[in-house]
Structure formats: C-alpha cells, structure tokens
C-alpha cells in the first residue's frame, strides 16, 4: 500500500454526500461538546481531567465512520470524537464528564473518559495511556475465533507508540493476521515533549515495515481522507489479510489538559492550524452545514443542562460493578 502524505488528495472511493453530512454532523457535535466543556472548566474550576480534543475531530470521526456498528472500538482519552463517531449521544458522554448517573458509566467515567456502550462496540478506554493494544487484539481474536468478520480498532496517541505492548501486540497480530487496526493520532506532542526528540522515525507508521504490515500516513485534519484510509484497512482486515497501522497527522490546538499554560510551545504555533470542520464544510452546501452546526449546538446545550440538573451518583455507587452477579 502506498503511503499517503498529509495534504494529498486521498485515493480510493470518495464517500458519498450522505456520509459527508453524517461525518460533519458528528464533528459538529464533538466540537460543540468541546466548546461546552471549555466553558464549563472556566466557569466551574472543574476538577476532572479534561484533555481537550478541539481541532482533532476529523481523525476519530472519519475513522469511526468507516467502522460498522458491531466493530470493536478502543479509544484514547483526548476529546470525544470516537465515542460520538461510533454513535453515542451527547447526553451519556456529558453525564460521564460531569460525573452524573446519566453518564454511560453511571457516574464513574470522569474526565479521563471511560464512556462505554457495548451495544455499538464502544468498549472503553485504558487511562494508563497506551494500554489498549492487547485488549483490542483480544477482541479481534474473539471475532476471528467466532468466525465473524468484525474488526477491532485500537486508537492511540503518538506518545504511546513506544509502549512495550504496542510492539508485543503488533508482533502477534501480524503473525496471526488478526482483524486489528492500529490508529494513531499523531499530534506531535507527548504532553510537553516533542515527539521528534524521542522517536527514531519520522512517522509512527514507519514501524509497520518491521512487522510486515501496511503503514499508512494520512492527513488527520481531513475526515474524508481518514475515512478512505480506514475503510481500506478495514476491508483488508475483514478479508483476513491482517492488521494495518494508520497514522493520522493531527493538530493539538490546546494544551495537554484544560488549563495547561503550554510554556513549551512557540507563541505562533496556531499559525499552522487548519480547522477540520471548516475543511469538511467547504465540501458541503453552506446552508446545510450551518443548519447542522446550529442543531449540534442546541443538542449539546440541552444535554449539558440536563446533566447539570442531575444529582451526583448515590454513595453506594462505589460498590457497584466490582463483581458480576
């Protein structure tokens, strides 16, 4: 498979316009939640650990749009694009972020998000960053053993590609041709350390060569390009051809966490920023895009108000779900 460099027009089948609209609608929901959370953090000295994903929406939305409802998703903790992209509503997501019983985790989710919905394959997050690789491989092996054509996707940041289990898992997934997609969002920062200081390769996708699997670099600000690259990888996985390592070059618009003063970044770093929503909106009817945005803002505002009106979780929540049965 040929590498696809940032900015290059993606090859393969172009998504139809319904798909573009759906991706835009979900990016708008994600952005609206980002803005809502930013405001909430400012107003409430929010104690959770919110890691803003504004500006990074295209990667999660584009990739999850290529996934089927019954495909397994393991996501990383920045933003909420993956959960929205896989089909979760803003209500349970905000409920988790605000620690309310209406959250998908019943009030245990918190700001390093643990939202979940097994019915649509949202399997959860490992907050020891970079820990979901073997879990996703386990789900992929489950699909293979049951003889379904489901795939599992492990989403991660560039900062965790050095993890031992990144490599341990790829060795096995490649050898066993597991239906597993590695999806890296490379925003070039490990908290405050530039990736280039600690990585021997320019691209995370370069590691793929060592495992004899395809490595693909894609413009992570372009949801359509991400969709195309992910759809190809998923097609390979469903056909029994094994894993693909996709690297989306994304842009971290904000700090590592809400409130990070980012002394380590150049003052003009935002000059290089391209807004993924604007990029996709340019391919849609202008009025339609505006209407989708207004709808998303209203939906998120209403979900936020509902969550804020809720009581905190009951004290006995701490003993729930420790053991089954």
């Amino acid at each position: 498979m040929n590498d696809q460099h940032p900015g290059k027009n993606p090859g393969g089948p172009a998504p139809d316009s319904d798909l573009l609209k759906r991706m835009y609608q979900r990016m708008a929901l994600t952005r609206a939640i980002e803005q809502c959370m930013a405001q909430h953090v400012r107003n409430n000295r929010f104690s959770g650990w919110w890691h803003p994903g504004e500006g990074q929406e295209a990667a999660g939305i584009g990739a999850s749009a290529a996934m089927r409802r019954d495909d397994y998703l393991f996501y990383q903790g920045r933003g909420c694009s993956w959960a929205i992209g896989k089909g979760m509503a803003p209500g349970p997501i905000l409920g988790d972020l605000l620690g309310k019983p209406s959250g998908s985790t019943g009030g245990k989710g918190g700001g390093v998000p643990h939202w979940v919905d097994y019915a649509i394959g949202v399997m959860g997050e490992g907050a020891t960053l970079g820990s979901v690789y073997p879990l996703a491989a386990g789900a992929a092996l489950a699909a293979k053993q049951r003889g379904t054509d489901q795939v599992a996707l492990a989403n991660f940041g560039d900062g965790t590609a050095a993890r031992g289990t990144f490599h341990e898992t790829l060795v096995h997934a490649a050898a066993w041709k597991l239906p597993l997609i590695y999806f890296c969002e490379n925003n070039e920062w490990l908290v405050g350390t530039p990736l280039k200081q600690v990585s021997p390769t320019e691209n995370i996708a370069d590691y793929a060569a060592g495992y004899h699997i395809p490595g693909v670099v894609v413009d992570g600000q372009d949801a359509q390009a991400v969709y195309t690259a992910t759809a190809e990888a998923i097609e390979r996985a469903r056909a029994g051809e094994g894993p693909t390592l996709i690297e989306a070059k994304v842009f971290r618009k904000h700090g590592h966490y809400a409130g990070d003063p980012q002394h380590y970044r150049a003052p003009d770093y935002l000059d290089a920023y391209r807004d993924p929503l604007a990029l996709l909106a340019a391919r849609l009817d202008e009025d339609e895009a505006s209407a989708l945005w207004a709808q998303a803002e209203a939906e998120v505002a209403s979900a936020y108000q509902a969550a804020m009106a809720e009581d905190d979780p009951a004290p006995d929540t701490i003993f729930k779900d420790l053991y089954y049965g």
Binding site: S104, T169, H172, L322
Partner: protein, 334 residues
C-alpha cells in the same frame, strides 16, 4: 468436605493433569473457551495442557511469544468481547510483567466503565519454590490479587481441588487468578471424573478437625501443616487444619467459627511474611474475634528475602514442619 467428596467415580491422576482434565471437559462443552500461553500447544511447561492442542487444534490452544503483558491484556480484551480465555503465565512471578493488564484491566475494566456484565478469564500462575528455580521463578504472588479488588483468587492444594476449582473458575463470570502450586504439579490424588466436579470459589474446608487451635493454611503448606498436626497430636495438642482454597473471597465464616471454638489461631503460608496473606488474616481475626482469643495469632511464613537459586538455601526460606510444630506449641502452651 461434602463439596470435594462426591459419590462420583474417581481416578488417580496428577494435580496438573487434573487441571487439564477440567479444561478439556469444559472446552468440549463451551466453544468460547480458548487457551493461550507460552508452549501450551506443545503440552505446557508443566503438563497441565497436555493433549489439548491434539483435541481442539491450534486455533483454540494457542502458543504465544514470551510476552506476558500481551497475553494478559489479550485475555482482558477477549473476555469483554464475550470469550473465555485461559492464559498460562508460566510463573506467578510474571504477574508483575503484566501488572497493568492484570491489576488494572482485568480487575478494574468492568468497574471503571460501570458495566454489570460477565467477564470470564482464568489466569494460571504456577507459584512457589521448586528446588532452586531462583528468585524470579519461585515467588508466591497470590497476595497481589487480594489487594486489587475485582479479581478472584484461588490456590488448590490437592489434585481433586485443582480440578474442582478449575471447573468453577471456567464458569465464574469474574476474572480468576488461578495459582497452581509448583511442588504439587506431579503429585497424584483421587480426582472425581466428570465435568460437574465443582469446588465453589470462596469456600474453605477443614482438612483435620481439632479443638486446641485453628491452623489456617493453603496451597503448598497444607501437607506440612497436616504432618505438624500429626506430630503435635502425640503431645496432646489437637490442631484444626483449615485449607482456605480461595483467598478472594475468603471464607471468613468458617475461619471465625473455628477460631471462636478453639480460641487460638495461626496462619501458615509459603509466601513472604511481611504484608503477606497471613497479615490480613491475622488482623481480621483480631478485629472480629479478639475477645475469643487466648493467645496472639501467630504467623509461620516465608522469610522476607528473594528466594535463593541454591536448593539447600532455598529450603531455609520457607516454613518447615519443625517450624510449624514449634509455632503450634507456642500457640497452645504459651
């Protein structure tokens, strides 16, 4: 011990073969069970998986690389996707290589996501000394599972229990850390045939009834404790020996009933003494039954040192029958 002695036929097989028999019988009944580990398809390091790959093929009996973190993480992922993975980790010591995967993911995944769903996974940890396997292949790591809620922890001491607890673990909707005892691997015992031989997780049993004091033990120390009790019987000290079998959940009702009757207690285990299982058990007994006690709760446990490679030095690090006898005298005679 009504639950271990059934009217069923028995056969004399080894402890590890008994674990393997439980696996075979469960795998015949349940397609979602698979076994993965280093060398499992070639019969396992200690023989527990002998013949599995012949019957079930290498799609269900899978050899992995030397990659414990991957193996345990895969178990967690497969379990939440509805499979029932059985992972042989080779040695209990290797639990630490897979710390995140066992103590965060297997233990906490369901809790931190607020999920009330079954999650079956059996992680086999062969534990304990085996005549000079050295400091990184001899550890008794079972206390780790006691400190991370969300896991169940078992340590069978007989071939029959090895099968019965494995049968239970394979049907348990929670992850189980299954500690097999290295020194017992090839010890034979009468094991009930059939796939319905269950030893319930969380139930201890009385191996020797007695009235002078309660000796609480499990795993490798059950047999030495029974030998010590036999010696002490000649001195008029009648120990009640309880085999805990499970450490999570632990059978507090049986323990406290016995202690309240004998008024004395000691804990014997191969694991290191400091912050070992005996520390929790002794503390719990004095919290719950202090005014029933005639004497402090004693611990006879492994020395607080890494285990030597030299077999003779190693033997000095784990409790001997003589030490258990001496502690029994101290407990009962003061």
């Amino acid at each position: 011990m009504a639950d271990t002695q059934t009217m069923a036929d028995t056969q004399s097989i080894t402890y590890n073969a008994a674990m393997g028999q439980a696996l075979v019988e469960a795998m015949r009944e349940d397609d979602s069970i698979f076994v993965l580990g280093q060398g499992v398809a070639t019969g396992g390091w200690f023989g527990a998986e002998k013949g599995l790959a012949d019957e079930f093929g290498t799609d269900r009996v899978i050899d992995s690389n030397i990659s414990e973190a991957f193996e345990a993480g895969l178990a967690a992922g497969a379990a939440i996707a509805g499979m029932k993975p059985v992972i042989n980790m080779g040695f209990g010591d290797f639990a630490l290589i897979a710390g995140d995967e066992i103590f965060h993911k297997l233990a906490k995944w369901r809790y931190m996501h607020g999920l009330n769903v079954p999650m079956t996974a059996v992680i086999i940890f062969p534990i304990g000394t085996m005549n000079g396997a050295g400091p990184e292949h001899s550890s008794c790591t079972e206390v780790l599972g006691m400190h991370f809620p969300g896991l169940k922890v078992v340590v069978p001491s007989t071939a029959a229990d090895a099968k019965g607890l494995m049968c239970a673990a394979l049907r348990e909707p929670n992850p189980v850390l299954f500690h097999s005892v290295n020194t017992l691997s090839f010890q034979r015992g009468d094991v009930p045939t059939g796939s319905d031989h269950f030893v319930p997780i969380g139930k201890a049993c009385v191996r020797r009834p007695g009235s002078s004091a309660t000796l609480l033990t499990y795993g490798s120390m059950v047999e030495p404790s029974l030998q010590a009790a036999g010696q002490l019987a000649g001195e008029g000290i009648d120990l009640e020996v309880i085999d805990l079998r499970s450490l999570v959940p632990i059978d507090w009702p049986l323990i406290l009933d016995s202690v309240r009757r004998t008024n004395r207690a000691m804990v014997v285990h191969e694991a290191m003494k400091t912050a070992g299982p005996g520390a929790e058990i002794a503390a719990h007994i004095q919290e719950q039954a202090f005014f029933d006690l005639e004497s402090p709760v004693l611990r006879v446990a492994g020395k607080d040192v890494p285990l030597p490679q030299h077999g003779a030095l190693e033997a000095l690090c784990i409790p001997s029958v003589a030490e258990i006898v001496a502690a029994g005298r101290q407990l009962c005679l003061g």
